[in-house]
């Protein structure tokens, strides 16, 4: 089958390429239309930051899914499962369980007591300027890390999905130029979505993308399952045997917590697995672009409902990726996948092609399904980066400009104008950084963003909402403590230097043995928050009464 696949890929690549680009342009045209429509509806700051707070639970649930299911989870997890089997599945579980933290401890209270940003809750009973500055810093750091990972990923994907091989050109561009062009294009589009459409436009882009992604994944899942006569066991058996790894493919340990002869290495590898697991579960409820989504609905009850929808949608999606990953291993095979991309990112598109060839009428069918899935992948990236840009520009304008610089005296129009300018600037910075980083291995940045969110954002959010004694000093300690410890440890970790897959493979300054800092930096974030609080005498019982009553009852909610 493998030689056949390669041949088919050659024959259909130009049809598929044209179709991918056409579909992608259709998506861009539709979303730009929505964005322009949304811009006409965007008049107040609430419209720009929170989409007018008029979205329904289902709409926001879809948008949360659209914001959250990045290319890293669609192509990345499917690829991880296709190459490493069970461990890819293990990764996706952390992403799902994390939503319980958001549901039980964060979403409703944030919606009730905040207005536009994460800092609204953190600074509620604190000294505004220092806390908002800190929250703004950590929001931007998390978002930029995440943005770079997504945009560099987009650049790498385009040459793979459009089949631009080294030595060949496409529209006169070689693979490297195409990469840079993609990064610039993705960046420019995300800036337009955010600057023009604000939260309303961005939300609809995410809803459309979530719908496309779920539909695409559902169709592929059904085809895979049908191929194995809905017998999960035979799908798994075939995947295991075609992976070349046998039954180990269906067990944990091929990717995370790898056991080697070196006892110390094995120990650290297993610690790394635990560290990653904790960061995934605790990071989600601290991601600024996820938190701002809770403000787009009218009440906390609907915020709850939207998280329930999100859990359903995201959970179903990860079950689909399970079928897609094992399906790719079984139907495409490990050799053919790694031949295209060592990291397995093309496993899902390759599977789409294979399914199309088998079930939709030969090569043309293969080209069509490949094109659809490739276009969905681009849509996925666009929606996620737009959400990130919006969250960080909102924080710059609402927290830093309006509260810190203007000391709360900025007019609404002024604030929104600054938000739009910041979106432009942040977008431009992300484009430039991504171009510089494009040849580096930056895949670890997604996990780092989760680790920073869990270490620097979640502790002060939980303390703010539930600990009466918490104060300004505690908030600053936990944000800066969690942030610096996470970034510091990663800087000296094997993902930045000292290993062949590191960001800088040719240098070595690493001494921290884990690739994920969470297991150390998250406790540091919580501990710093506690120490910072008790070393300061400040405590505002009146303000806490207001925060607690409002967050639990919804009284006075915006």
């Amino acid at each position: 089958m493998e030689p056949y696949f390669q041949l088919a890929a050659e024959a259909s690549s130009s049809t598929s390429r044209t179709l991918t680009i056409t579909l992608f342009l259709v998506f861009v045209a539709v979303t730009l239309g929505i964005t322009i429509w949304a811009s006409r509806q965007t008049k107040t700051a609430t419209d720009f930051y929170a989409g007018g707070r008029q979205f329904s639970g289902f709409q926001n649930g879809m948008a949360i899914g659209g914001d959250y299911m990045s290319a890293a989870s669609f192509l990345g997890i499917a690829g991880l499962i296709a190459l490493y089997g069970y461990d890819g599945f293990l990764y996706s579980i952390g992403f799902l369980v994390a939503w319980l933290v958001a549901l039980l401890l964060v979403a409703e209270f944030l919606r009730n007591s905040g207005r536009y940003t994460m800092a609204d809750v953190l600074a509620f009973r604190m000294r505004q300027r220092p806390v908002r500055t800190a929250a703004s810093v950590s929001t931007i750091v998390v978002s930029i890390f995440y943005l770079i990972a997504q945009m560099v990923g987009a650049g790498a994907l385009v040459s793979l999905l459009l089949g631009i091989k080294p030595g060949t050109t496409f529209l006169g561009m070689d693979a490297d130029t195409a990469k840079i062009a993609t990064i610039v294009l993705v960046g420019a589009l995300m800036i337009v979505y955010v600057v023009v459409g604000g939260m309303k436009g961005t939300t609809y882009v995410q809803i459309v993308k979530a719908f496309l992604l779920m539909t695409g994944a559902l169709v592929m899942t059904l085809l895979v399952l049908a191929h194995y006569k809905f017998n999960l066991s035979s799908l798994l058996g075939e995947a295991a045997s075609r992976s070349g790894k046998g039954s180990a493919f269906l067990e944990p340990g091929l990717r995370y917590g790898v056991e080697t002869a070196d006892a110390a290495k094995t120990f650290y590898s297993k610690m790394d697995l635990l560290s990653l697991g904790i960061a995934l579960v605790l990071g989600t409820a601290g991601l600024p672009h996820i938190l701002t989504r809770f403000y787009t609905v009218p009440t906390s009850r609907i915020a709850r409902k939207s998280v329930l929808w999100a859990i359903g949608i995201i959970g179903t999606f990860y079950l689909f990726t399970l079928a897609l990953g094992f399906g790719a291993a079984a139907m495409v095979g490990g050799t053919a996948i790694t031949a295209q991309d060592k990291a397995g990112n093309t496993a899902a598109p390759q599977l789409a092609q294979e399914l199309g060839i088998t079930y939709l009428g030969g090569d043309t069918g293969g080209a069509v399904l490949l094109a659809i899935i490739a276009a969905v992948a681009f849509a996925t990236i666009l929606a996620v980066v737009a959400g990130l840009t919006l969250a960080s520009s909102s924080s710059v304008a609402h927290d830093f400009y309006a509260s810190v610089i203007k000391r709360g005296q900025a007019g609404e129009r002024d604030e929104v104008r600054v938000a739009r300018i910041s979106a432009f600037v942040i977008g431009a910075i992300a484009i430039v950084l991504s171009i510089f980083a494009q040849s580096l291995n930056v895949a670890f940045l997604v996990a780092l963003a989760f680790a920073v969110a869990a270490s620097a954002n979640l502790p002060p959010i939980l303390y703010s909402l539930f600990w009466k004694r918490f104060n300004t000093s505690g908030a600053l300690w936990s944000i800066y403590g969690g942030l610096t410890s996470a970034v510091f440890l990663v800087f000296f970790s094997p993902v930045v230097s000292g290993t062949p897959t590191a960001m800088f493979p040719d240098s070595d300054w690493h001494w921290f043995p884990l690739s994920n800092p969470g297991i150390i930096s998250i406790p540091i974030g919580f501990l710093c928050g506690w120490i910072g609080t008790i070393v300061s005498k400040e405590s505002d019982a009146d303000k806490y009464a207001e925060l607690e009553v409002r967050s639990l009852t919804g009284h006075g909610a915006h």
Partner: protein
């Protein structure tokens, strides 16, 4: 910013009322233990994946092993906890929260004129007066 017409003592009074204490207790007695429970349950799964590979690789039916079952159970437990919380909240928390909220709104009468998004976009060009009242907020409240 916030129309802070509700006096602070009002919030303090509510916060110290037996009713609010009951709401807080009901909320915390649910969400804290539940958070600890699912976190331990998830940790157990990750720990088993790291340290109990023999156990995880035991085949149950065909090629379906303990590891896969455990992973799928994490999905099931997540869905169940989410469903159970929403039911609990609707039954046990929302009515009290509403009652307290209504009392607060009642006592502060004219206070807190709900943030009717005052069109600060002063120069709203005559033609585009359509407000943001778009669609269906799922019967808010």
């Amino acid at each position: 910013m916030t129309t802070d017409a509700t006096p602070t003592d009002k919030y303090l009074e509510v916060q110290q009322s037996a009713e609010f204490a009951g709401l807080r207790r009901k909320l915390r007695n649910f969400v804290f233990p539940m958070t600890i429970a699912f976190f331990l349950w998830y940790s157990l799964y990750v720990l088993l994946s790291a340290y109990a590979r023999g156990f995880m690789s035991v085949k149950l039916v065909g090629n379906i092993n303990v590891a896969l079952l455990f992973g799928l159970l994490q999905f099931v437990s997540t869905f169940l906890i989410a469903w159970y919380y929403s039911r609990y909240a609707a039954k046990e928390l929302d009515p009290i929260a509403d009652k307290i909220g209504d009392e607060l709104a009642g006592t502060t009468v004219a206070a807190t004129p709900e943030p009717v998004e005052t069109d600060t976009t002063a120069g709203t060009t005559a033609g585009t007066t359509t407000t943001t009242a778009t669609t269906d907020p799922e019967g808010a409240k």
